[in-house]
Symmetry: none
Subunit: 224 residues, 2 copies
Amino acid sequence: MTGVLVIEDDDRIRLALLLALEDEGYQVRGAGTAEEGLRMQRREPADNVLVDLMLPGLDGFECIRRLRRDDDVPIVVVSARDDTHDIVAALEAGADDYLVKPVAIKELSARLRALRRRARAAPDPVPVLTFGSLEISPDAGEVRRAGRPVPVTRTEFRLLCELAEHAGRVLSRQQLLQRVWGYDTGDERLVDVHVGRLRQKIEDDPGNPRHLVTLRGLGYKLTR
Amino acid sequence: MTGVLVIEDDDRIRLALLLALEDEGYQVRGAGTAEEGLRMQRREPADNVLVDLMLPGLDGFECIRRLRRDDDVPIVVVSARDDTHDIVAALEAGADDYLVKPVAIKELSARLRALRRRARAAPDPVPVLTFGSLEISPDAGEVRRAGRPVPVTRTEFRLLCELAEHAGRVLSRQQLLQRVWGYDTGDERLVDVHVGRLRQKIEDDPGNPRHLVTLRGLGYKLTR
DNA sequence: CGGTTGTATGACAGTTTCGTGACAAAACCG
DNA sequence: CGGTTTTGTCACGAAACTGTCATACAACCG
């Protein structure tokens, strides 16, 4: 399992990063101050560290230097400041990369991956979307229910991913036909059939679906 | 002396980069096309390569892949496009960093420095990838099953490594053709055949593969 | 309540996708 | 050069998947 430590004092940003990284398949942990982060990294080293520059107490630069002192872990700075001087200083202090907020999680993930390739560190985690006991991993082409793999067909899988990507939002049959099948027009019953088949596989009680819900007259949605 | 190769088709930008890097103390050389750049790098390897994404003929992504194929040189993309999708694709292709034009030369220089520090710090620790009782050492060119060496052909080995590097992720036949064979197009049955042959060698029960599994309609993946 | 509209589902036939053995071309190797 | 291994192509059978349809069921509405 690949671990990431996020050192960031803003609770909301830290939480958002942690949740997003978790979806990307990382095992995450967070720290609100440099001191706490250093302590955590010393006790139980993560495979990657994300650091904010503006931290209370010990600042980001110093934090990077100290991390670097006793570890070769890849360090990525995530800062609001988009200033060449800061970037150079951070890299000079020992950081490996520098991203400016707001960061696109996919980019962050890709950069972490590139960095790990260089550092020959941990393996790639596989992103997982979770809906209660239902787990969907688009990259692994896998669906699990209560931990057990569920065999789904390609069409079902695409449909499920489409719904999962827009979790909680209704998608009309037309939209689904368009996005999953690429049809601009077609029989909407087709969607019903596949939704039905999917329910047989992923719902505990297919007659009373908890995740893959029908919204009469509107379409379907996937809920947690 | 540290050498940098700049592959960029716009003469003015290439020249500007070369001059600026020269001021930074690098020994520089430039190429106007991917083909020329690849040739130069093969003949006389630089310590860093800068690549533009929009090149005439062979595009930047392909250029990166080919550079990566026979070299571990740090690659930095310098592109006008500031798009998450491009960034992810470039990093995925094997780039180490991605900068958006116009670049601050001080930042570029700092990033190159950080990258070289990394590249130098990781002298191959001969990693072994393990999948249950299956062991693959990409560097040693060896495959073992329950400790016993398994003779695999070059093609099979590359296919296996490609799958192993992305353990747990589905790779489509197209992707495999592209990455293992370098084909941009071709008969997808070819992949099937080699997967079949590989299974005969590495699976306990080739009829019921445990590691090299098929995901109908999606492709293949290697699991633990 | 009865009519109307929208949704679920089982069956089925046509199509797609896979795995495999056979074989020839190509590469390799003394 | 002759033998051996590896590689790519092909064709075919088996298995899995897909979309359509008909019917049954449920929800809504006045």
